[in-house]
């Protein structure tokens, strides 16, 4: 809220510190404050203190407490000779829950005119636009006390009753600006006997507007519940100076304060004639709150000793009273305007902020020497990131959102998507189901400036499974290559390298098998995708992206990508490694040529050979793949190199030959031709 420096000054006898100095003090002790000009301070009133500090009186009280100064008292209307309300007006409140207090006062002898110049100035400096003397003074008192006031012209109302009630379906209200609001039973209104004349606590209606012809007014000061005001805000997105104050809750006593202050000012500034008494619906008066407080606990929580004299001085400066002061326990009476103070901790905050956070020395805690538990997920995440960076990949952070176009492009069914109910823009329609959607976009944009594109990301991905939102951590990488096949093996190499660095020894590659649960998402090139497996477990995929996608995203290079379930990878990496004895025995090498159909995977042949050879086969490598004249059509010749080694002895030639024969027989069982 904007505060006028000179208005604030009017609450004190002594000269206030300069605006800059005052702003510093306020920032240090209560609210962040900025100096907008010599005359205007922008004070960022915190929501828990809005009940009182969205007012000059409230802020002056704080300034007084900080500086240790007395705050000047305002002048109020004292009962004059005039009796009760002349006409028999009634107030009817449907629910004390929606409106715990409602008061009216008639003021007669009104002459509508522009406000006095100093009133106008003060309003303008506080960010309000002057209108006429009556409306301005109501706003002035709102700024002064924090209590919103509303002024009607009673002669425009129908009947002699003001009713605070929920609106009925189908009712409407036209505001002062001429905007019409359709109402329902969620909305609290102030109505005459016929129709709503104001949205309670928010906005007045056109019907009872003050005009130059107005000769008397009725002033409403009320306390509307936070909930009722918030409902209107949620429904119409409507927030006004009045609703802002009601929303945070107000001291019930302010109703009378504001009425009497306005009556005083109307009478003394403009010679108007307020009636003596207000009509006041106030069934359950505010209760005085007391809190028990222990100076010892304050010391324990803050970490320093503040003397009891200092504590009580600070509390009293802020309006608290200490009703009982034992050595261990105090009883503290909370002033009616401090709706936010309900716990001992709240009192401690009051003391410590005025005492000064800067005066608390840093003190290393005496804690048990418990070393932090290692977070293995984070450990592997860091390691994996470092390894990928070493392989030339750049790490990116993409948005967690995708739009409708991306969903369609990748063929994700909408029922599989976690959808945002209130996106800020259409870019945030869904949560990303897969990292590749945004990675592909990033690759496409970066290729404008870079020749080599290798990106990776680790992040959360989301899928909707009936009423469940599934969330998992995924690792994905992407690479652009002029040649799809070369790119494939380059990326495959990077993934193998990663697995090796993580000491995952049994990583292998399998043909892609579409399972019935797979939905129609179209990510991979059907003929150029592999499943990444460790043991029997499938942990991800690597392949070229679908040709239709490649065309759609207009990237001329081939796009190769992988996606791995991060948690699976981290778990596999965490498995314990055991030392494998180093053999000093010689290694024997034997080569074999196997002729297999083109469609048979190399992986399969190597695994068969390895299994058939038994424990003494140390390794099987692929030396060459040959297709051509000497090999039948539709077939390829694979040259395998088999390494035999024992731990404890030199293998005899006969032994090696026996194993090799076993391998050959086993391979032939698959219908493959074998030459040694």
């Amino acid at each position: 809220m904007k505060f006028s420096y000179s208005w604030l000054q009017s609450f004190f006898v002594k000269k206030l510190p300069s605006p800059g100095k005052l702003a510093e003090l306020l920032t240090e002790k209560i609210f962040e404050t900025e100096v907008l000009s010599k005359e205007i301070l922008e004070v960022d009133v915190l929501p828990n203190r809005a009940a009182e500090c969205l007012s000059y009186q409230g802020l002056a009280r704080e300034v007084g407490a900080i500086l240790g100064w007395k705050v000047k008292k305002l002048d109020f209307w004292r009962k004059g000779k005039r009796k009760k309300q002349e006409e028999n007006w009634k107030v009817e409140v449907e629910s004390g829950k929606d409106c715990p207090r409602y008061s009216l006062r008639f003021i007669e002898g009104i002459k509508i005119q522009p406000s006095l110049p100093w009133i106008k100035k003060r309003l303008e400096n506080s960010g309000l636009r002057p209108i006429n003397n009556v409306v301005d003074l109501a706003n002035y008192v709102m700024l002064e006390t924090g209590q919103p006031l509303h002024v009607f012209d009673p002669d425009k109302l129908e009947g002699r009753k003001i009713i605070v009630r929920r609106a009925k379906g189908g009712e409407r209200m036209t505001s002062l600006e001429g905007k019409t609001y359709p109402l329902d039973k969620e909305i609290l209104v102030v109505a005459d006997e016929k129709q709503p004349v104001a949205l309670a606590g928010i906005k007045g209606g056109k019907k009872a507007e003050i005009t130059s012809a107005t000769q008397r007014v009725v002033v409403e000061a009320a306390n509307f519940s936070r909930a009722s005001v918030r409902r209107v805000w949620k429904k119409f997105g409507l927030r006004t100076d009045a609703s802002w104050r009601f929303e945070n809750g107000l001291d019930l006593n302010l109703v009378k304060t504001a009425q009497d202050r306005l009556a005083y000012l109307m009478s003394s500034l403009y010679g108007a004639k307020p009636v003596a008494e207000i009509t006041d619906f106030y069934p359950v008066p505010a209760v005085r709150r007391t809190i028990s407080f222990s100076p010892e606990f304050l010391e324990k929580l803050v970490g320093i000793k503040i003397s009891q004299t200092q504590i009580s001085s600070i509390l009293q400066r802020l309006g608290f009273k200490i009703s009982k002061r034992g050595t261990k326990q105090w009883r503290v009476i909370v002033p009616s305007w401090r709706l936010d103070v309900t716990h001992q901790a709240d009192l401690i905050e009051e003391v410590v902020r005025i005492y000064g956070y800067d005066k608390i020395p840093a003190q290393t805690s005496i804690a048990n020497l418990i070393p932090p538990a290692r977070n293995w997920n984070r450990y592997w995440e860091r390691k994996i990131k470092t390894l990928l960076v070493r392989s030339g990949f750049n790490e990116v952070y993409n948005y967690s959102f995708i739009d409708e176009r991306q969903r369609k492009l990748f063929g994700y069914p909408s029922e599989k998507m976690v959808e945002v109910a209130n996106p800020v823009s259409k870019r945030q329609r869904y949560l990303r189901p897969h990292l590749l959607l945004n990675l592909l976009k990033a690759a496409g944009e970066n290729r404008k400036y870079h020749e080599e594109i290798k990106l990776f990301e680790i992040g959360e991905v989301f899928l909707q499974e009936k009423d469940q939102c599934l969330e998992r951590t995924s690792l994905a990488g992407i690479l652009l290559a002029p040649d799809g096949e070369k790119g494939f093996f380059q990326l495959k190499g990077a993934v193998e390298c990663l697995a090796e660095s993580l000491m995952i020894s049994d990583l292998w590659w399998d043909d892609y098998q579409a399972t019935p649960e797979d939905f129609s998402a179209q990510i991979w090139h059907p003929a150029r995708v592999a499943e990444i497996k460790v043991g029997d477990q499938e942990i991800g995929f690597l392949g070229e992206i679908h040709p239709l996608l490649e065309e759609e995203v207009k990237i001329p290079e081939a796009v190769i990508a992988f996606e791995i379930n991060f948690s699976d990878l981290a778990k596999l990496a965490s498995e314990e490694q055991e030392y494998r004895p180093i053999s000093s025995q010689p290694i024997a090498k034997r080569d074999l040529s196997v002729i297999v159909p083109l469609a048979t995977s190399v992986e399969k042949v190597i695994r068969k050979a390895h299994q058939a050879g038994g424990i003494l086969v140390r390794d099987v490598d692929l030396v060459e793949v040959y297709q051509g004249a000497s090999v039948a059509r539709g077939k390829k010749s694979l040259t395998l190199r088999i390494y035999f080694q024992a731990l404890d002895r030199t293998l005899k030639t006969a032994e090696i030959e026996r194993m090799q024969r076993k391998i050959i027989i086993s391979l032939r069982k698959n219908g493959w031709m074998v030459r040694s």
């Binding site: 929580l301 048990n368 984070r378 967690s400």
Partner: protein
């Protein structure tokens, strides 16, 4: 030829030698199997015993002299050849290098690692939690009841079909952790959070937060200040200035904020904190009189921006290699 003449001649030949090959020839010519020395050896054999002694002594002396000369010359020639080679092998060391193709970690990863290392050295464990949250953990358990105006401080992305939301801060992870662990405890929680707001250079719909929590029997504001001092000097250097001012969060009481100021720059708000609210302790089953502690939350993005002078938060999420490759 006398031995004297031979010596002169040999000295001349050594002097003339320009490389190791020629020098080897000199050796062969004089001391080799068929060298000049052969004549003197034969002569020696023919001489009488008396003469032989004297001649032998002179011959030996000559031999030693020649060997030394040859060795000396050899050293010189080798050095010469070596110098020549060095001259030939010289290249311009200032020419551009060929770098191995390394990638780059994202700046936020880098900053997060630094921060985790600092807090781990202070005994804080790193804990993580889900990005999709329920209302209870994101709000209610943190003393933010439904329809409370405080909820407006966290503009929330809601998910369709149910009451789930994208976490607006990492604080729900604290609640989840406290539900399962007994105090005393010291944790930090890094993670991605979401805010439903329009984007500009200082705000984005997603950002990263690092949350901290320390609970014990006597953990105080003074202790919090010590932790913050350790952190800020370790992360931003000894010249960092910090100020602490009052603030409001429903889940802490007292609440405060910390601003940092680097030499010659403006104060920047980086951190909200406070002593954990008794209602939060109660919600997870801790006894408020017995246990107490502080919680804090800071914007990782903000700190990265402060330290590396990044002026637009959106750069972190736009995957632009021209940005990423700078770090």
């Amino acid at each position: 030829m006398t031995l004297e003449e031979l010596k002169k001649e040999a000295a001349q030949a050594i002097k003339k030698s320009q490389n190791l090959g020629q020098l080897r020839e000199v050796y062969q010519n004089y001391l080799g199997k068929k060298g000049e020395i052969l004549f003197f050896l034969t002569d020696l054999k023919k001489s009488s015993a008396v003469q032989r002694k004297e001649k032998g002594r002179r011959l030996n002396k000559f031999k030693h002299w020649l060997e030394e000369e040859l060795e000396g010359k050899e050293g010189k020639l080798k050095k010469q050849a070596y110098n020549q080679r060095i001259q030939q092998e010289k290249f311009d060391v200032t020419r551009p290098a060929q770098q191995p193709a390394l990638g780059h970690l994202h700046l936020l990863t880098n900053v997060q690692n630094q921060m985790e290392d600092i807090f781990q050295s202070l005994g804080f464990s790193v804990v993580e939690g889900p990005e999709i949250e329920d209302e209870y953990h994101n709000f209610d358990a943190l003393n933010i009841p439904p329809d409370h105006p405080a909820r407006d401080q966290w503009d929330t992305f809601w998910l369709k079909g149910g009451k789930k939301l994208l976490r607006t801060h990492t604080s729900p992870v604290q609640v989840r952790y406290m539900e399962k662990h007994h105090p005393p405890l010291r944790i930090i929680v890094p993670g991605r959070c979401f805010r439903h707001e329009a984007t500009d250079a200082a705000h984005d719909v997603q950002f990263n937060q690092l949350e901290g929590l320390m609970i014990g029997k006597e953990v105080s504001i003074a202790n919090f200040k010590a932790v913050m001092e350790q952190f800020s000097t370790a992360f931003l250097g000894p010249k960092i200035k910090a100020r602490m001012r009052p603030s409001y969060f429903p889940f802490t009481e007292p609440s405060f904020e910390i601003d940092f100021c680097l030499p010659g720059r403006k104060w920047t708000e980086v951190l909200g904190a406070g002593m954990i609210h008794p209602a939060v302790l109660k919600a997870v089953g801790y006894s408020p009189g017995e246990w107490q502690g502080f919680a804090f939350g800071m914007g990782l993005d903000r700190l990265a921006m402060l330290k590396y002078r990044v002026d637009d938060i959106r750069l972190f999420y736009h995957s632009d290699l021209r940005f990423i490759e700078q770090f």
